[in-house]
């Protein structure tokens, strides 16, 4: 009987404790989709092309381990990008020999990261994040056989039809903020920068919507 009484008293104390009263139920997961621009060609280290930003879409899922720490995973999808590579090469008696090669590129990547979110239970949470992006970078390079003339010297560039898929890994860091409309829905803004073997690889600036659940 004494044990039962003690148990009831302890249960009542725990239920009425300030700690439990002060802790609201925060959602453990969040998910979202975002649109962004990729700056830099670091996914394709073997090519030399114009560096205009490319659109990228993120679908992401996060799991909170406590009020600050979260694991994030994302799928990154891009459009097929058509462009040109300008290649110079050495030929006897032909200074400045060059050719143009078309390329069609597409990138599909997954990323995993650990995120630290500042503040607790606020309408805006800045965060910092770091992790890895693993991408399958497909590249189709092709050109017809073409003849060029420079300084009255003619040379022929052979036909090319080359397909490759490279798996590349890029560590990245990110900063951003989750800004809430209400208790659960938010806008996520983020800037991330990734590095490769040769230093800076690419950066992504993105904005998207998400929900906690």
């Amino acid at each position: 009987m004494n044990g039962l009484t003690l148990g009831l008293v302890l249960a009542a104390m725990v239920a009425a404790s300030p700690a439990s009263a002060q802790q609201p139920e925060l959602k453990k997961w969040d998910a979202g989709a975002s649109f962004g621009l990729v700056f830099g060609d670091g996914w394709y280290p073997d090519t030399d092309s114009y560096g205009e930003p490319q659109p990228a879409y993120h679908l992401e899922l996060g799991r909170f381990w406590n009020t600050h720490l979260k694991t994030d995973t994302a799928i990154i999808l891009t459009h097929r990008h058509e462009g040109y590579d300008y290649t110079t090469f050495a030929l006897p008696n032909v200074p400045g020999a060059y050719s143009f090669t078309r390329h069609d590129r597409q990138l599909t990547a997954v990323s995993g990261a650990m995120t630290y979110q500042f503040f607790e239970n606020q309408m805006m949470h800045p965060f910092v994040s770091g992790g890895l992006q693993v991408a399958a970078a497909t590249n189709h390079r092709y050109r017809d056989a073409e003849t060029y003339t420079i300084n009255r010297v003619t040379y022929t560039v052979p036909k090319l039809d080359q397909r490759s898929t490279d798996v590349v890994v890029r560590p990245f860091v990110a900063v951003g903020a989750k800004s809430y409309f209400n208790e659960r829905t938010f806008i996520k803004s983020e800037f991330s920068a990734a590095v490769g073997g040769g230093g800076f690889s690419h950066a992504i600036l993105r904005l998207g919507f998400g929900v906690d659940f």
Binding site: M123, A177, F181
Partner: protein, 125 residues
């Protein structure tokens, strides 16, 4: 004996302003809180170093009751005046952070688009 008296006098001199300060702060915040109307938006800093914003629910001689402004609702906070470092009346923003981000991005996009249009119109392409 003389040393003891000296120490006692010095202690009293040093402690007196601190005690007076504490009592005065308590009373000041009690009086300040009594003049806050219900639902006034305030920022409170506590002796623990933490601070938060919220809405006044009520105040009496013993405590100030504040409904904290959080994303997910939290219970009322009952604050003893001795725990209060400062109370500031605040002006509450009408827009939530997400709306501010959307407006900011919209304005930035409009400015960039406008510059591009002007450049195009002036023949610089």
């Amino acid at each position: 004996m003389g040393k003891v008296i000296l120490v006692a006098v010095l202690s009293a001199l040093l402690a007196a302003p601190l005690n007076a300060q504490t009592v005065r702060d308590d009373e000041a915040w009690r009086a300040f809180a009594a003049n806050l109307e219900p639902n006034a938006f305030i920022k409170v800093r506590l002796t623990s170093g933490k601070s938060f914003r919220g809405y006044v629910v009520g105040a009496d001689d013993h405590e100030l009751r504040v409904n904290p402004k959080t994303r997910v609702a939290e219970p009322l906070r009952r604050l003893a005046y001795s725990d209060v470092v400062s109370i500031e009346r605040q002006k509450e923003s009408k827009w939530n952070p997400a709306t501010k981000v959307l407006v900011g991005v919209g304005v930035a996009w409009a400015v960039l688009y406008g510059i591009a249009l002007l450049a195009y119109a002036s023949g610089y392409d």
